[in-house]
Symmetry: C3
């Protein structure tokens, strides 16, 4: 447990300290639950009452607050969320191998190229010609297929599977149960029998640096060329990325999204949860797609879209509203039809 002083934290965050510079904390916590040895944050005046009740030793604040508990140190920062994230990472950095630990039950092929400083967990398997770079951490039961590469300081949690010839860049995190580089869904129907003939999936999967991929995700290898995930991209749990998708840099894809084959997302695209793409379509850089949307074709201009059909966010709100009124509208129309035909009859 590392103890850090208020002045050291203020310096780390570039914030202004109000209170005892020697005050020490050992970690971060929630404003409601934090104790005297923890640092918490206050987003603004709205939370002042909670802040006054808080027992946290140090508070990150957007401006100096009055009436806090005796002895609470405050650090004034411009962006409270960003500052809190940095402080939290300071106490809880992503783990990295700093010495060689290869569990005796791990099976590492003699032809694998393994850096000196790595951690390989129990029952992990590293196949021939795979490369693990310095600082890599493999959890228990991880399988690294033949010829795959895991870049410097990347962390693969328990039971992650890499098929052969998958490459992962530096400083990535992949969560448990995720399968990278399995075969895409490709068949040629036999025209005489109607049976499906498997199209061998011969491409690769290339993942950039600083990516995080959630649990039980599946990302397929390309059919011929590669499937690509750009650097800095973050993918949530239970997401599917089909073969030959080309995902840009610093993209965020929230849980339960399914990108069919050859979907192309530009840099900085954000997909909220449960976005479905029909595949073979393109979304320009910077586009935001709201939750539970269905993409059936190219998105022509960057913007903030949502829904099925995919429309501008404001439009979707109106469509949902009218949808709720549809039965009433239908009824009104029927009545109006009747009135008119009655009128016609009555003439």
């Amino acid at each position: 447990m590392k103890r850090v002083t208020a002045s050291a934290i203020a310096e780390l965050l570039g914030g202004e300290l109000v209170g005892d510079p020697e005050k020490q904390v050992v970690g971060v916590g929630d404003l409601r639950a934090a104790g005297p040895e923890q640092l918490a944050f206050v987003r603004g005046q709205r939370f002042v009452d909670l802040a006054r009740q808080s027992r946290a030793g140090i508070l990150l604040v957007p401006e100096v607050l009055e009436g806090l508990a005796q002895g609470t140190a405050q650090i004034v920062v411009r962006d409270v969320d960003a500052a809190f994230t940095r402080a939290a990472l300071h106490f809880h950095p992503v783990p990295v191998a700093d010495r060689r630990i290869v569990h005796p039950t791990a099976v590492v092929h003699p032809d694998a190229d393994v850096a000196d400083v790595v951690e390989i967990g129990a029952h992990a398997v590293v196949e021939a010609r795979a490369r693990l770079e310095a600082g890599v951490v493999l959890g228990p039961g991880v399988c690294i297929g033949a010829g795959s590469v895991v870049g410097e300081r990347s962390v693969l949690r328990a039971n992650v599977v890499l098929y052969p010839r998958v490459t992962i860049g530096a400083r990535c995190i992949v969560h448990s149960g995720t399968v990278l580089g399995s075969d895409g869904f490709g068949y040629t129907p036999d025209r005489t029998t109607g049976e499906f003939v498997k199209v061998p999936q011969l491409g690769t999967l290339e993942i950039g640096d600083d990516c995080e991929i959630g649990a039980n995700v599946t990302i397929d290898r390309g059919a011929l060329g590669p499937t690509r995930i750009g650097s800095g991209t973050k993918i949530d749990n239970l997401v599917h990325v089909g073969h030959n998708c080309d995902i840009g840099k610093h993209v965020a894809i929230a849980g339960f999204s399914a990108l069919s084959g050859s979907t192309k997302l530009g840099d900085h695209v954000v997909c909220a949860g449960h976005v479905v793409s029909a595949g073979h379509l393109s979304v320009p850089a910077g586009t935001r797609v709201g939750g539970a949307s269905v993409l059936r074709g190219d998105v022509d201009e960057p913007g903030d879209y949502i829904g099925y059909p995919l429309v501008k966010r404001a439009t979707w709100g109106r469509i949902l509203k009218v949808l709720q009124e549809l039965p009433d509208i239908r009824r009104a129309l029927r009545r109006s039809d009747r009135d008119r035909s009655d009128g016609a009859d009555g003439r």
Copy 2:
């Protein structure tokens, strides 16, 4: 194989036996397929013909049936389904460890706190300070992270992964491939570069007693506080529960549902399959949400809802009906517009 007499089963179920009390069966089966040594059930008069053709040795019935095969015993019970479930559980109880079996290939940390009577399968891993209580069964390849707790008689099937500091109560069942306590999807965008900075996920995951969690499910740990699953709650395959969700007791969540972070479901909520929640919303106790629904905000009152937009069940049926008619309605409106403008012109 245990042989049980009709009289013993009648007593177990509190039912009235009609037929030979010494008649024995060794298990349960489907009415169509059951043989003379099996018990089956008949839901009502509708199934009398099937019952007459059945070879089952014992039938659970809501009332005495005539014309059954010679020698078939009947047990009359009030709730046939509930009685059949109890009978089936009698023959096929959930497995529980009744002596110590630790497979020699399992890796159990010396600082783990493991009860005397547990079963630990091949290649399972139990990390430091983890606790396994009496009767726990871990299948092959299960990983129990440091400091996690598995309560009495809980059963984790092959390849389940618990991240560190996850707690599971007593008598739970977790199916294969499920990942409990992985990091939530939390990032702070760096305002200058647009890159995502990981927010360390420091909370826990607390699962109550008597829960069942399906295969390849993912439940994230909280960002700071806990994610909670109440006692008696049942979660189907491929469900995602985001960080800091608070799921009540005796909730049922069917397959492919995705609850985004901080979703709050009250006790006895039932979500049919494929329910999507936008997160940071609340559903009151006793609410039923139909399949393929999308929740975008709080549900204010308990009730039976479905759809997107989420509406009362009866309304949704009407909306779907009107949706199908939309092209016709559109056409009628166009015609009517034309008529009116023609009329106007003609005047």
Copy 3:
């Protein structure tokens, strides 16, 4: 690496060779990326410019092309896609065990029935009475439950889990993380407490020959009878098949589809991605269901359907179009109502 001549490939594909019969290639590639030792394909005149720039040694073409690079051999075939698939499979056949390789860390129960020629990967587990037929390949960490059967030449990739008594036919491929035969989601509510009582899931799972099942799929065993997947059926990643589903032969189910319990799909049904079925419904042979559809009841006639509500494909296009116009329609209706009541008032 096998070297194959143009004449041998032409013979294999039943195509007509134009060019040097002794020309050799060692594999297949994409038209843009293929080198002189690779075979690529050209779908038609549209791609002629690409074909002319291609460095591929052999091209599969629908008709003889002019102006190709010096020395490029052409093979004219009737169905370019099917021919390419066959050529690719020739160079990259699905792996099959051709000698006995049982990794020393694998745990095979002495009562398992294992053919002589199989490959069993590191840390795999084969339980009692399981049967592995000739040519089977189990990847690392695969678990085969008691009494399960894996048919001739089937391949299970890393970390696949078979629960007890699951049967898989010959020549199947199952991708990593997939769970076959776990318990279905079946509970009887206790009428007094509102608690859920588990219904033991006693049925089986029977998978035919020549099936391929993607990564992180879940297919439940039946409650009493079997869940069935017919021969030749292909299932993509992250698909859920509930208990007692009966899936026909040569069916294709794309990613993220969720079939609730007792869904019945006839032979040659095709479900595009993300199809949701409410269960206890039937879809006739040869039906095509488009992406992101919701099935709430039986489909009465084969056809090409899509949407929610599920309608004919052409209708859905029109419905989506009207949905986009709904806010405008609503506005027009309001105006028209106002006009009419103004008119009425004015009379």
